[in-house]
Amino acid sequence: MSGHEFQSHFENSGSIDMDDTSTNIDETTMDELRQLAARYPQKRSALLPMLHLVQSVDGRVSPAGIQACADVLEISTAQVSGVATFYTMYKRRPAGKHHVGVCTTALCAVMGGDILLDRVQAKLGIGENETTPDGKISLERLECNAACDFAPVMMVNWEFMDHMTPAKADELLDKLLNDEEVHSTRGARITSWREAERVLAGFPDGLADEGPTAGDSSLVGLRIAQQRGWKAPTAEQAPVEQAGSEQASSGEETK
C-alpha cells in the first residue's frame, strides 16, 4: 500500500457489500431493534431508526443488519435493502470514524464550498464517498444542510461547522486526524459517526445541553430588534386576555 489507495473504491460501489459478512450485532442489539419496533403503532415504521442503529453497531449497512431488521419486522431482506439503498445517510461501505461533509449545493458552492471540497479532497487524498486508508475520515459531497446563513458549511458526524474557510478546514481535519477534541460551532463536542448514528436511532447520548442556544447568524435579526426596541405587538391589541405579552422582553436581561 502506498497509503493513497482509495480504500472504499469498489467496482460495484452502488450496491451494498454482501461479501463482507462480519458483524457486531449481538443479542443486545437485537433487543434494541425490538425496542425501536415497539415504539410505533406499526412496527415497520421503525425501519429507518433501526438502520441507523445497524450503522452504529456495524459501521455500515451490513448483510447481518439487513437480516436482523427483516427478522424483527417480519419483512423480506429485499424490502429492507430497497429502503437502505434509497437514503443517502445509509452507507454501503464502511464509513470513517468521522464522517465529513462539504455542502456544494448552489449557494454554499458559490460562497466557497467548491473550493473547500477540492481542498479537503487534496488534503485527505480521497474522493467523494471514500474513506481514508486508516479509516479515520470518510468524505461526502452534501446537498443543502439547512444552514445557508452560515455558508459555506461543512458537517462532521452531522454536527455543524459554520462559516468555513480553507484554513479552518485544514485545522479541523488536522484535529480529527490527530484525535484532538473538536467542537461544533453550534453543537456538542464531536463524538464519532457511529455514536451519532446511535442518537439518530433514538438512543440519546446526554449531550443535548452542550453548545449554545443559537449560532451567531441565527441571532442577527433578534439583536437588531433588541437594539432598536422593535417588538411584536402585545396581546393587549387583541380582544382576548393578555397572555404572553411580556414574553418578548423578560428573560434577555436576566441572564
Binding site: 449545493t105 448552489a106 446537498e143 454536527e159 455543524f160 433514538g202 442556544t213 422593535w230
Partner: protein
C-alpha cells in the same frame, strides 16, 4: 404601525439554555397549552382558521382549514405529523428554531394534536442535524416528565404520545406524502392524490401534516389571540414569519418580521451587500421559487406580492447573489440537486432532470450549441406539472426564470466557459489571501 421586525418565535433564541423546559416556562411557555386544554377542540380549529395562519412550509395553505378537512366519521386514529425535514436549498429557519427552542414546537404539537383529536404525534426531522435531534428528544422527554405529554395531560384525561423520528437523507421526504411513506418505513416516494392525507395519510388513517414553523406559531396565536396574529402582515398574508437571508450580504441571518417586508429592508438590516458589490439575482423562498432581480427589491414578500412578480413566497429563504455570480453555474447546481434528489418514481422528473443537467453542463463549459436554449425550455416544458409531486417543477422554475432574466449568459455559454466569464473564486466569501493554496 407594526415594528419592522417582530420577534415571536425567535424572541428567546438569545437566552442562555433556551432549550430547557424551565427557561421556556419562565417566559410563559406552556400557558397557551393550559388555555387550549380548557377549550373545545373544534373551537381551537376555528381559532387558528380565524387567525389566518397560512402554512409556513412553502405552499401557504391555511393551517386551520387543513385541520378542518379531517373527517368526523372515520373510525381510524388521527395522526399529527410535523414536517421537520427542512431541506429546500436556501431554507434554514426550522433547524435553528428546533435547536434553540424545541419546546415552542413541542407546545405547538400538543395544542395542535388536541385540536385535531389526535393521540399520537410524530416529529419527522431530517437526520443530518444531530444536535437538533438531541434537543428535540430531550424536550419531548421533559414534556412527558412535566405532565404535558403522555397519559392524562395536566389532569384533563387527554392522552398524547409524541415520537421524534430521524430521517435518513432524502429531500423528497419533505413532500408530505413521501414523508408518510418514509415514516411507514418505506422508500420516500410521493403518493398519488386524492386521497389526501386528511382522509388517508399515515397507515391510511386521517393525518394532518404541518411544517415546523406553522405548528410553532400556534401557541402564540392561542396565547395572544387570533386578532393579535392577524394584526401583523398584509391583507391576505397574516402574521409573523422567519425570513432567512443568505449569500452575498454583509451579515446573513434570520429576521422575524410581519409578512410583507421587502428585500430592500432585509438587505439593509443585513448590513447591505458585501462591500463593493451589487445585487444580481435572488430566490424569494428557496431554490424551487423562480429567481427575481434588483427590480423586485420593493415587492412585498408575501404570498400575493411574490405571485404577482412571477415567483412564490415559498419558505422565505432569500438567497442573495451578487454580480460576480454566474447564473449558468447556479442554475446547473440547483438542477443537479433536483436530479440527485429525484426519487425516480415519475419518468419526466427522473429522466428530465438528467437531461437538463447534461445540457446545462455544456453551457457551463462554454460548449453549448445554438438551439440549446430552446432545448432547455422544451425539456422544461415536458417536465413541469407532469409528475406526482412538485420536485421537478422546482428544477423547471430555476431554469426558466434564469433564461428569462439572463438569456445573454446562456448565449455566452455557446462560446465561453462560465468560469472565464465569472471567475469562481471571486464569488467565494473568504478573503483572497485564503485562496493561495487552491490549485
Amino acid at each position: 404601525m407594526t415594528d419592522t421586525l417582530t420577534p415571536v418565535l425567535t424572541a428567546n433564541w438569545g437566552d442562555d439554555k433556551a432549550w430547557k423546559l424551565s427557561n421556556y416556562e419562565r417566559r410563559g411557555g406552556y400557558k397557551a397549552l393550559r388555555k387550549a386544554l380548557e377549550m373545545q377542540p373544534a373551537d381551537l380549529v376555528t381559532w387558528v382558521k380565524d387567525a389566518n395562519l397560512r402554512g409556513r412550509g412553502g405552499a401557504g395553505f391555511p393551517t386551520g382549514m387543513k385541520w378542518s378537512f379531517l373527517p368526523k366519521d372515520n373510525p381510524n386514529p388521527v395522526y399529527l405529523v410535523v414536517n421537520a425535514d427542512e431541506s429546500e436549498p436556501g431554507t434554514c429557519k426550522d433547524i435553528p428554531l428546533m435547536m434553540a427552542s424545541p419546546h415552542t414546537l413541542v407546545e405547538g404539537v400538543i395544542i395542535s394534536a388536541f385540536a385535531c383529536n389526535s393521540h399520537h404525534a410524530f416529529i419527522y426531522c431530517r437526520g443530518e442535524v444531530l444536535h437538533v435531534i438531541r434537543r428535540l428528544q430531550q424536550a419531548v422527554r421533559e414534556a412527558y416528565s412535566a405532565g404535558y405529554a403522555g397519559k392524562n395531560i395536566l389532569g384533563t384525561g387527554y392522552d398524547l404520545e409524541i415520537t421524534v423520528h430521524a430521517g435518513a437523507g432524502a429531500y423528497i421526504c419533505g413532500e408530505e406524502t413521501a414523508l408518510l411513506d418514509s415514516l411507514e418505513g418505506r422508500r420516500g416516494q410521493p403518493r398519488l392524490r386524492p386521497p389526501f392525507p386528511a382522509v388517508a395519510g399515515l397507515y391510511a388513517s386521517p393525518t394532518v401534516i404541518n411544517n415546523v414553523e406553522s405548528i410553532a406559531s400556534v401557541p402564540g396565536i392561542i396565547a395572544n389571540g387570533k386578532d393579535w396574529f392577524a394584526g401583523m402582515g398584509t391583507e391576505k398574508s397574516k402574521g409573523h414569519g422567519i425570513f432567512s437571508l443568505s449569500g452575498h450580504v454583509k451579515t446573513p441571518g434570520q429576521f422575524e418580521a410581519p409578512l410583507g417586508i421587502t428585500l430592500r429592508e432585509l438587505i439593509d438590516l443585513g448590513g447591505g451587500m458585501r462591500e463593493g458589490h451589487e445585487l444580481k439575482f435572488f430566490t424569494p423562498g428557496g431554490s424551487s421559487t423562480p429567481i427575481l432581480t434588483a427590480e423586485h427589491l420593493d415587492v412585498p414578500l408575501d404570498f400575493e406580492g411574490m405571485a404577482e412578480a412571477g415567483s412564490m413566497l415559498g419558505t422565505r429563504a432569500l438567497q442573495i447573489f451578487d454580480e460576480t455570480t454566474s447564473v449558468v453555474r447556479t442554475t446547473l447546481r440547483w438542477v443537479e440537486f433536483y436530479k440527485h434528489e429525484s426519487c425516480g418514481k415519475c419518468t419526466p422528473c427522473r429522466e428530465g432532470t438528467w437531461w437538463l443537467v447534461q445540457t446545462l453542463r455544456n453551457f457551463e463549459a462554454g460548449k453549448a450549441s445554438p438551439g440549446d436554449i430552446e432545448k432547455l425550455l422544451d425539456v422544461s416544458d415536458n417536465i413541469g406539472g407532469k409528475s406526482f409531486c412538485a420536485l421537478a417543477d422546482g428544477a423547471v422554475a430555476a431554469v426558466t426564470s434564469a433564461v428569462k432574466f439572463f438569456r445573454d449568459e446562456f448565449e455566452a455559454g455557446c462560446t465561453t466557459p462560465a468560469w472565464e466569464l465569472f471567475p469562481y473564486e471571486k464569488s467565494a466569501l473568504f478573503a483572497d489571501s485564503e485562496l493561495g493554496a487552491h490549485a
